[in-house]
């Protein structure tokens, strides 16, 4: 076996290990969520723990990629934003988990500050990737960014009015934050999908695919939450909330796997490819 084949085998080994860890986490989470084998407190603690753990894995994996790029390399700037956004989500998940354990209902507050700010950083990462790919002239890039932000603000405002109208709640910070999430998921998810398609079949698509999957899962969660279906499902032991929560955890793990695979490729080269003479 030549050196390249050995490197690839090592990379594949680590990928399989990561896949096994992710599968164990999903399985354990699903068992705890559906079968509730322990006391209420322990079940709640463990399900919160696994969500925070999955978010932490994604942030650590993104940090590894950022670390692997040298100072001054253009992809490092993309990963700087991507990594910071994932750390903010991890902090948000941690605060939310704590509040979920100690309060009866988690109000709009600190976790949302981190979640919302993370969307802005994901936007920055997407923007940097776009600039790096297409090298548009700066004026045109700024114009596009301005229109995208304008569109984003308009859709958020429209959604806020819509939610306020259908739920009968007054138009306040709460509604605005709740309206922001689906628009953010939709915008970031679409941009991630667009980038993943540009990089199709390429390793650089993995992280963007992860982000897209996460946004879709979050969109599902937000829709269930806002429509009241989530709390109804929880109180009636319906599987809808389980699907939403397990998908949410899986989405974090997909982001983590996407980032970790990119790190493996940076270390061991393209790991999913065989040399012509390899068995």
């Amino acid at each position: 076996m030549n050196r390249r084949a050995m490197m690839r085998a090592k990379g594949l080994h680590w990928f399989r290990f990561a896949l096994a860890v992710a599968s164990v986490v999903v399985f354990a989470y699903a068992v705890i969520y559906i079968a509730t084998p322990f006391s209420d407190f322990l079940n709640n603690f463990l399900s919160n723990f696994f969500t925070v753990f999955a978010a932490l894995l994604s942030a650590v994996a993104a940090t590894l990629v950022w670390w692997r790029y040298e100072k001054g390399e253009p992809p490092r700037r993309i990963w700087q934003w991507f990594m910071t956004a994932l750390w903010l989500w991890t902090i948000a998940e941690l605060i939310w988990a704590y509040q979920n354990m100690t309060l009866e209902e988690v109000p709009t507050g600190w976790p949302d500050v981190f979640w919302v700010f993370a969307y802005i950083l994901f936007g920055a990462a997407l923007y940097r990737q776009f600039i790096l790919l297409y090298h548009p002239d700066p004026a045109s890039a700024r114009r596009r960014l301005f229109y995208a932000l304008l569109l984003f603000a308009a859709f958020t405002a429209l959604s806020a009015f819509f939610f306020s109208f259908i739920t009968g709640q007054p138009l306040g910070l709460d509604t605005l934050v709740n309206a922001f999430y689906p628009v953010g998921d939709f915008g970031i998810g679409l941009a991630g999908l667009w980038l993943a398609r540009r990089f199709r079949n390429g390793a650089l698509a993995y992280a963007w695919i992860g982000l897209f999957v996460f946004c879709i899962s979050d969109l599902l969660y937000t829709w269930l939450d806002l429509s009241g279906a989530y709390s109804w499902s929880l109180s009636h032991g319906n599987s809808l909330s389980a699907i939403a929560d397990i998908t949410y955890l899986i989405a974090y793990l997909i982001v983590a796997l996407g980032c970790f695979t990119q790190w493996l490729i940076l270390n061991y080269g393209p790991i999913f490819k065989k040399e012509p003479h390899e068995p």
Binding site: E70, R76, R198, G202, L204, I265, G269, P270
Partner: protein, 326 residues
């Protein structure tokens, strides 16, 4: 008339054919790289090119022109060759430059001037700005320098300096010449269209190196240095397997291979570009890998692009838009 070999100050030895055969064996044993020139008075002249002891090119002077002898006729030619032998060790880069000088028709127009050494870099820069390619030979005492000027902005200048005991190549040659100060030098400029077999191959090599370098630079910008190193490893491994003396390091191409003609070179370059595309596709996807090549090709000078389109890119199995179809 410019005569390359009469100006060379290398050791001479009158040999009979039987000794020539022994001499060839010695070169083989000593892994000699360079040229062996045999002159039988005014009757005949022959030049043999060696790389690591292997004879790989044979030229004879027919009339006023050096012609390549086909491989199947080498044995016959070797039994006929005898005379005054000059042996000149050269690096591969030197062999390539030497072949260009050799293939020039000896009755072509040329400019001969005598100027101070420190004025030569400016003179060369002037000639680089003109659109017509040329070969330049500089002589100062026992030392000689050779330059290949492709003509046109941002095209590389290749140079070789042969001193009494050492060679130099690259930008160090002009620096060395400048350091001679106001010593008088004889400078011969030989205009050429570089359309000989060697000339064509030379332009193709420059074109390939330029395309590969631009491609690697853009790939590095998108994917980072580590993945460029992985691509280099893949290419270097392939070259090693195919016994090609080419080495990719970062975004640079160290090309030490000597190809007999553009067709042979084109086949090798095509394989390398396909491999680069395959490796890049695994990282940035096939669409962007194709675009990287297209952008690199678009930023290559039209002359080099035509050469690539004729010998390398036609029929390449990945999407790349061509301007000129052969």
């Amino acid at each position: 008339m410019f005569d390359l070999f009469s100006s060379l100050s290398v050791r001479n030895k009158e040999v009979a054919n039987s000794y020539l055969q022994t001499l060839l064996k010695i070169q083989e044993r000593e892994l000699f790289t360079g040229v062996l020139h045999v002159q039988n008075g005014e009757k005949s002249q022959a030049v043999m090119f060696f790389r690591e002891g292997v004879l790989f090119a044979f030229y004879t002077l027919v009339g006023r022109q050096w012609l390549s002898v086909s491989r199947q006729d080498w044995n016959h030619e070797l039994t006929q060759t005898e005379g005054n032998v000059r042996v000149l060790a050269l690096p591969v880069e030197g062999l390539r430059i030497f072949r260009l000088f050799l293939e020039l028709e000896r009755n072509e127009e040329h400019t001969f001037i005598s100027i101070n050494a420190d004025k030569i870099p400016a003179k060369i820069a002037d000639w680089e700005q003109s659109d017509s390619p040329s070969l330049v030979h500089v002589r100062q005492g026992e030392t000689q320098a050779f330059f290949v000027i492709l003509g046109g902005p941002s095209l590389p200048l290749e140079s070789l300096l042969i001193g009494s005991e050492r060679f130099q190549s690259g930008s160090a040659v002009l620096t060395q010449i400048k350091s001679w100060g106001n010593r008088a030098c004889y400078v011969t400029r030989l205009p050429t269209n570089l359309e000989s077999v060697g000339g064509n191959e030379y332009v193709l090599r420059v074109a390939f190196s330029s395309l590969a370098q631009r491609t690697l630079e853009r790939y590095q910008e998108l994917a980072g240095r580590f993945l460029v190193t992985h691509l280099n490893d893949a290419i270097n491994y392939l070259n090693e397997q195919n016994r090609q003396s080419m080495y990719f390091l970062g975004t640079n191409v160290n090309h030490r291979e000597f190809f007999m003609d553009s067709e042979q070179a084109g086949r090798v370059y095509k394989i390398l570009l396909e491999k680069m595309y395959e490796e890049m596709s695994l990282v940035v996807g096939s669409e962007i890998a194709g675009r990287i090549f297209e952008d690199a090709l678009a930023s290559t000078s039209p002359r080099l692009r035509r050469q690539l389109e004729t010998y390398v890119l036609a029929g390449i199995p990945f999407p790349i838009k061509l301007e000129v179809k052969p």
